[in-house]
Symmetry: C2
Amino acid sequence: MDELGLAARNHGFPLEMLREPLTPTGLHYLLIHFDIPAIDAATWRLQVGGSAFTLAELQARKRVTLPVTLECAGNGRALLEGERAESQPWLIEAVGTAEWTGTPLAPLLRETGLVDGAAEIVFTGADHGVQGGVEHVYQRSLSLEDALRDEVLLAYEMNGEPLPAQHGFPLRLVVPGWYGMTHVKWLQRIEAVPEPFTGWQQTEAYLIDDVPVQRMLPRSLLVPPGIPDFLTRERFADSGRQTITGRAWSGQGEITRVEVSDDGGATWADAELDAPLGEFAWRGWRFAWDATAGEHELCCRAGDSAGNVQPLTATWNHGGYCNNAVQWVRVKV
Amino acid sequence: MDELGLAARNHGFPLEMLREPLTPTGLHYLLIHFDIPAIDAATWRLQVGGSAFTLAELQARKRVTLPVTLECAGNGRALLEGERAESQPWLIEAVGTAEWTGTPLAPLLRETGLVDGAAEIVFTGADHGVQGGVEHVYQRSLSLEDALRDEVLLAYEMNGEPLPAQHGFPLRLVVPGWYGMTHVKWLQRIEAVPEPFTGWQQTEAYLIDDVPVQRMLPRSLLVPPGIPDFLTRERFADSGRQTITGRAWSGQGEITRVEVSDDGGATWADAELDAPLGEFAWRGWRFAWDATAGEHELCCRAGDSAGNVQPLTATWNHGGYCNNAVQWVRVKV
């Protein structure tokens, strides 16, 4: 019942909307650890070391817009076999791609002197609660090197609108290529620390055998063809040639290949890749499928320029993280 | 796993956002039977009997904006005890209130001659799939009398913006006071029928012992106080006097009373009602709570001008509909 409460409260992305290159704001996945905080933008300040910035001051700085794919590190958790990792029970729908607009983090860190002698930069949100028996506000850190990457943004707009409350209003961190837990929402404070940060969300959660979860593994998803059954989401499609489309992404490198199978992974054929949407956004692909009468198990798998390929099955881990095993879509033709 | 898939795909309303009188668009509950259809507004037409209307033609007609609370008829389904009603497993979060803008339906029915000899008016959406083994597009009917009520709208805006795809773009029916299944999304066609409509969604679903589910029963929800535990959503609050707030609604009449209990329903005290937001929208309320150290079971119950009061427990029914039993919130002070 606890997991059901989380599933009802958090929001998944409906897969048919993979047809859109950018996810409409209300359909982007949402994973909210505690409550959505109520923040008054007029009195809100971002503390950066000893300095404080108003939202207007941040908006007056260099402005960058990037399409970025975000995926929850727990995506696929409920499909892992083995002992149960009790948390938000995602199947495969914890993803979304938006255009995030904000100001680059690195110049702000340099101006405020936070780079001197820092081992890590710690980001503190306003969401507050209890997890694993420990009361805390949501905090995550990045190594100084990762924090200084050009593409890291302090974002105040999503798809050209002010951040919605549920996506971190008035300001969130965006770390392109990384799983969702890194993109701290409702930012309050940025500080440098001389030793690695040991907050709960950094050292108790988001680890696989003590190795921190960081960049997204490659994954591809397809738009389920035909029409669905309400309850099972099984699909019914007409026979004949049709185009299967989908999107693929990786935080490890460029997507270089997507393959499709209609026989449950026994045989594979290459899909055609669309032009990239951006270095940190999912990449569209299409595949001409000759649908023959009968039952099919459609699946797709992505590979990236770092040599990673999606597995057909995934191995269980304690937190249920990083399950990038292929999507299976049952279709009756 | 089927129910989990539905829970991940459909969206619940996070209860802390009860603090807002209008639900931000991306946080309104969503129940989508099949897939979100892709509709091109430029070529879309609404068929009304033998006439066809463009979106611009509908927007040029009389324009009305109403705040309306929508609740899924299956809200509370997963909390019913007894045999399992297998469907979207809502706990208590399938609700939202938006300002819907559109044109009244009644004049359109009269102009197009659909009122003459009609028993019912049938509304056809564009969403298409299989439910209960029957392939169909989503269709629901209203009696002519209900369809002609002043407040029934053909809505093309939600909270001052064009309808989002997931809420029925470009046009949906809004029938204030009724459960969500009535508010047909992605409207394609409106027609009159001389006999009661017998489509699947009308005569196989949304019935309790053959009686159609129609208007919302009274329900109240409170903003869970203090801070949450991530997994259990149990709350931790400080001791002392604090204000508990919430909202209550009914499709049967005006909300006339809300009571609050902090001892699991053993004793009750009246909450103070805010001014109404509108005839068809939830009504805010507040309650001064003296939080004493210990564990509390907070709950609230609403009563309406038709004499209905929320029950403490609900009786199971085949489809898991209309469970308006009170919300229970465990708080540790």
